[in-house]
Structure formats: C-alpha cells, structure tokens
C-alpha cells in the first residue's frame, strides 16, 4: 500500500496487535489443538475446499506474535535464537514481515465476513471471529488492508457515507416517500423518541424501507426523526478494523442523538450497522451512550408485543428467512423476526440451520466493499444457496440490505427465481388502515 506510507508501518501494526491481545485471545491461542473443525463451520472453506481458508489459520501471524511475546516458553525460545544468531554473527530473522502480512491480507479480509460461525463450533471454545476483528486492527495499522475498504472508509470520513451519498439524494427520496404516502417524514425533530438511521446501500437499492417505516411509525404513533447531520448507520472503520475511524463515525451519531435529545437510536435493516453501533460504538468512543440502540426489527417486535401494530391478511406463498449473522448470532436477535413473520406469513419455513447457527450470505464484514473478493463472495454464497434449495421457498425474507443484495445477486447468478424481500416492508404492506384500526 503506497498512500500514506508514513502512516502505516509494520511496527505500528504489531503495536496494534499488542494492544489487542487480551486474556480471551491468550486462552484461545493456548487451547487450539489444530483439529480443523472450524474449517467445516466456515462458508469460505466449505465452498472452496482450500485448507488455507481454515478460520484459525487466518490468525497465524497474530498467533506468532502472541507466542513470542506473551508466553514464557516463547520468550525463552526467542532468547535462545537471538543468542545463537549473535554467536554466528548473523542478523536474527524477523518473526513477522510485510510479505507475510501481504499474504494474509486476503485471508483476513476477502475470505472472512466475521460471521462468527466458527466461534460457535470450535470444540475448545475459541471465539475466532473475535480475534479476526482484532487482527484487522493490525492489518490497517501496518498498511495491509484492501483498497476497496480503504476507499469506503475515506469516503465515510469525508462525506458521512461510505458510498459518498449526500443528504441531497436522500432528500429527493424523502420527497418521493411523502408524495407516495401523504405522510410527513420528520427531520431534525427535537426530543423525538427515536432517531432513525439509514444505510447508504439501503437508500440506493431499497428505497422501499424508508417508505415502510414512515407508514408503520404513523400507524403505531411512534415519535421519530431523521437527522440532517447524520443519517448513516454503517461504520466503515469497524469493517476495515480501525478504531480511530470507527470512533470518528460513531461520534457523529452520538452528537446527532444528543443534539436532538432522543432517547433511542434505530439501526436500519443492516446487520453490520447494528453490531457497529450497538456493541462496538461505545467501546470505540470509550463511554456508555446516553441513549439506547435498537435494530428496527427489535422496535417492530416491541410494537407488536404492545399491540401497536395491527395487520390484516397474510402472504400465502412459501417463505423462508435468512438471519443476518450480525443480528442473530452476533446480537441475540433471533425470536423477534420470527414473531413478526408469524404476523404476516401464512406458509413460513425456517432454513435448517438458522438463528445462532445460520450460514452467512458471504457478503458481510467488508467483503462486499472489496472488489478483489468478488469470486470468493460468490463461492461462499453457494452454502446459502444449498440451504435455500433444501427448503424450496418461493421467496426469501431478510432484514439486512447487504444480505439482501447478496441474496438477490447470488440467486440471479444461479438462475434461481426466488425474489428477496425486506421484513419491514412486508409488515408495512399488511398494516390495517389507521381509521379502520381506530374504529375497532
């Protein structure tokens, strides 16, 4: 990587790892018995059969550093090696080199969506994706992160959106929604209960989402608002693995929420955005939020429980559902989407492995912003495809714009005629008209 070469260096990378190595990491590296079970959990291995995609192997450089610097045995080995080298008058070979990190860059980025499935399966209990997230910090600091992700991060910092999308574009969409629904889309409303965030991917590919929440929130009398200064929920800093960038982006959300004095922030139908702001955000800025964070699905399910969503009619075709990794396995939202499906689906069938053991669509964790990873992204999708073929649905439902795009593109690639819909939209389609609801 050439740009900003003075910013990135091997030493900075190793220092980032030194900061990241904690007790769980040490316990995981100490415990791995090279059984290879994690490979069977990873869509990138399963669909390519290439052992280099074994999850724990993706961490080998970081493991070397841990062994040499954080174990008595490793320190001793280094001491002896250095002695021998000194005796022979030769220079000691560095443990980790730029060439090595260059070789590992595609392993840590192109072939890992940080889906966390390996972490559920390792028999000694290693949380491998926890370590991959950490390993990426060192990759960024040493200048070994993919161009595509770097560009997205720079755009996110400079324009507020990883896709360079501006408020003007969103404003046009808001006007459309207002015309189509006859409802107002509240902007910068002080003291609203919920600040709604969106993702650029969603604004571009799935404008139906904004229309759907506008209708649902009107139906359920929810007080909400968008913020002109901050509408983007995703965090490119977390995908690439840079705490500094992550903190800058999270701070924008916090500032907007504090300025508008909202009590809650809603992450859109985007799994990554949700884990970014829900779990990583407070740690990036090193303080707890003065507001709560929910994924839109959690909010909708709460409205359902409170009896504030009244629906009529059901979809009668055979539907199945893709759980976004970030929402289900990595955030514990599993039942909510199923309760909502019950409301509007007459013929719903779950994929065999779902919820905390679902298979990744293959596009998350920055893979979809990394052009170089295209072939692997499609390969990993084949696992999802196989799962879908098992239950033969007529349509798929999901609640993440990245997953949805990947499912649509993947299914099209394999000539499978299975449309993909967002759950929020599906709920919006079945709302009882407000006047009718009030009469009953």
């Amino acid at each position: 990587m050439t740009q900003g070469a003075n910013h990135f260096s091997l030493e900075r990378g190793l220092n980032a790892w030194r900061e990241e190595i904690d007790a769980p990491v040490a316990s995981f590296f100490s415990s791995c018995v090279h059984c290879g079970l994690c490979a069977q959990a990873c869509p990138f291995f399963v669909e390519t059969g290439d052992p280099k995609y074994t999850p724990i192997h993706k961490l080998e450089p970081m493991r070397l550093l841990w062994e040499q610097e954080y174990t008595v045995w490793g320190k001793l080995k280094k001491l002896i090696k250095d002695r021998i080298d000194a005796k022979l008058g030769r220079e000691s070979k560095p443990l980790i080199t730029d060439e090595m990190l260059e070789e590992w860059e595609p392993l840590l980025y192109d072939s890992c969506t940080m889906c966390g499935r390996c972490s559920m399966v390792c028999p000694v209990g290693n949380d491998i994706h926890y370590m991959i997230r950490k390993a990426r910090e060192g990759m960024v600091a040493s200048g070994h992160s993919p161009e595509g992700l770097l560009a997205a991060s720079v755009r996110a910092v400079n324009t507020g959106s990883p896709m360079g999308l501006q408020w003007k574009t969103l404003e046009v969409q808001i006007k459309h929604v207002e015309t189509a629904t006859g409802l107002e889309v509240p902007i910068d409303k002080q003291g609203a209960d919920f600040l709604v965030l969106l993702s650029s991917m969603e604004i571009i590919n799935f404008p139906e989402y904004l229309e759907a929440i506008t209708k649902i929130f009107d139906h359920a009398d929810v007080s909400w608002t968008l913020s002109k200064t901050c509408f983007e929920a995703t965090n490119a800093g977390i995908q690439i693995g840079s705490k500094d960038i992550a903190a800058t982006l999270v701070q924008r959300v916090v500032d907007a929420a504090e300025e508008l004095q909202v009590k809650n922030v809603i992450s859109p139908e985007c799994g990554h955005a949700y884990t970014a702001i829900r779990w990583e955000g407070p740690n990036a800025i090193k303080r707890a939020y003065p507001f709560k964070v929910y994924h839109i699905i959690e909010v909708l399910d709460q409205l359902r429980t409170d009896g504030r969503i009244k629906t009529e009619g059901k979809e009668m075709d055979r539907l199945s559902m893709h759980d976004p990794c970030n929402l289900a396995r990595k955030s514990g939202v599993v039942q909510q989407q199923r309760s909502l499906m019950d409301l509007v689906a007459g013929d719903f069938v779950d994929l065999q492995e779902h919820g905390e053991l679902q298979w990744c669509c293959g596009a998350g964790g920055g893979v979809s912003s990394n052009e170089r990873a295209e072939p692997l992204k499609l390969a990993a999708f084949k696992r999802k495809k196989a799962q879908i073929e098992e239950v033969e649905p007529e349509r798929m439902v999901t609640m993440c714009a990245t997953c949805r795009t990947q499912l649509e593109e993947g299914l099209e690639e394999f000539n499978m005629d299975i449309p993909v819909v967002g759950l929020t939209e599906m709920i919006a389609d079945h709302l009882v008209e407000k006047e009718k609801a009030e009469q009953s």
Binding site: D22, V25, S30, V33, G36, T54, T71, V124, A288
Partner: protein, 219 residues
C-alpha cells in the same frame, strides 16, 4: 544401573521434578493468560456473562447436529479416546493408590480387565486419530511438529502402561520405569505445548460463552 535402580530413580527424584515442573508450569501458563485481563466494555449488556460462560464450558462437549454430521469421525473418535484416557488415568486401581499416597484422597476403581479393554480402545483411538491427521487435508495443512509431539507424549504413557500390564517388556521394573517416565515426560511437556488445552480449554470456553452471553446468545 540395574532396572531396579532405574525404577527407583524414576519413582523418586524424577517424579518430584516432573510434578514440580508441571504444577509450576501450568500456574504460570494460567497466570500469563488471566493477567492480560479484558478491556472495560461500555456497551449496554443484553444478557449475563457468567451463566452462559459456564454453560458453554459444558455445551462444547456436545456439538451441534450440523457439526456432528460434518465432522462425525473427529467428534466420535476424539471423545472416545479422551474418555478412555481419563478413565484409565483416574480409575485404574494402582493409579488411585498413587494419587492417594501423593495427595491423600482416593476413590473406588474399575476391575483390571475393564481398564485393560478401555486402554486398548484408547490406543486404537489414538492411532486412528493420528492416521486421520495425516490424511484429512485441513488437519494435515494445520499440523506442525508440535501436534505430532503432543500426540506422541500422550500415546506413550498409554502404550507403555499396556505393555507393562501385559508383561510385554522385561524385566518388569524396566517396564514400569518406562511407563512412569513417559508419564513424567507428558507432565513436563504439558504446560509448554498445546497439551495445556487440558486446562485452558475451560478458560477459552468460558470466555466464548461470556462474550456471546453478554449479547444475549448462548454459544
């Protein structure tokens, strides 16, 4: 040195050295892990850490159906020989007597022929696991010298025990000496290699369960 001298050395000074290295080594190992600590987590928790952490310790003995299907051999044979190893280690009457004389607590054992059969199964299991390691592409790719070393130091105490019991090495004091020596090598090597998973896997499983548990997922 007669075989009796050898046995006396192995049972005496060597045994103390091995136990000391093992005990100190494993304490250092656990200390160097736990001392690293964890950064404060500012994100509002969805769930508890401790209970899911403890549950995961138990749950990883029992893999999910998909993993079982995809790695049936690993799970079955791995479990089989591990259980065999522990049964032989802790339920063979002479072992219990040794433990009782060292730390003062004992328990009932299994009849010798049962232990003998379990030993044979454990040996076969270990051999099968080694062949699998050579042949399964992912395992072969991941394996380092250390993986073969820990296999060997695990295999030898079981093998020498079996040979000594069946009087296949003579004289008997030599056979017993070799068996105890291999167990001592096992103890000495344990803290410095992946064999430490015997202890650290519990720590790893706990952390895994705790990290997921905080987010409201049982891992």
């Amino acid at each position: 040195m007669t075989s009796m001298d050898f046995l006396l050395f192995i049972k005496g000074p060597m045994f103390s050295i091995a136990v000391a290295i093992f005990a100190l080594g494993i304490l250092v190992r656990l200390f160097e892990i736990l001392a690293l600590g964890r950064a404060h987590n500012y994100a509002a928790a969805r769930g508890n850490e401790i209970i899911p952490g403890l549950k995961t310790i138990y749950r990883r003995f029992n893999p999910d159906p998909g993993t079982f299907k995809r790695s049936t051999f690993d799970v079955l044979v791995g479990t089989l020989w591990h259980v065999g190893f522990v049964v032989v280690l802790l339920l063979f009457i002479p072992h219990i007597e040794l433990i009782q004389s060292t730390i003062g607590i004992g328990w009932p054992g299994l009849p010798n022929p049962v232990v003998d059969a379990v030993t044979a199964i454990t040996l076969l299991g270990l051999v099968a696991v080694l062949i699998h390691r050579f042949r399964q592409p992912v395992k072969r790719f991941l394996s380092t010298r250390e993986d073969y070393l820990i296999w060997l130091v695990t295999f030898l105490p079981v093998l020498t025990g079996y040979l000594a019991y069946h009087r296949l090495i003579n004289p008997y004091p030599l056979a017993l000496g070799l068996h105890i020596l291999s167990a001592e090598v096992f103890l000495i090597v344990l803290p410095f290699t992946k064999l430490s998973h015997i202890f650290t896997a519990f720590v790893a499983r706990y952390y895994n369960g705790a990290i997921f548990g905080r987010k409201g997922i049982q891992s």
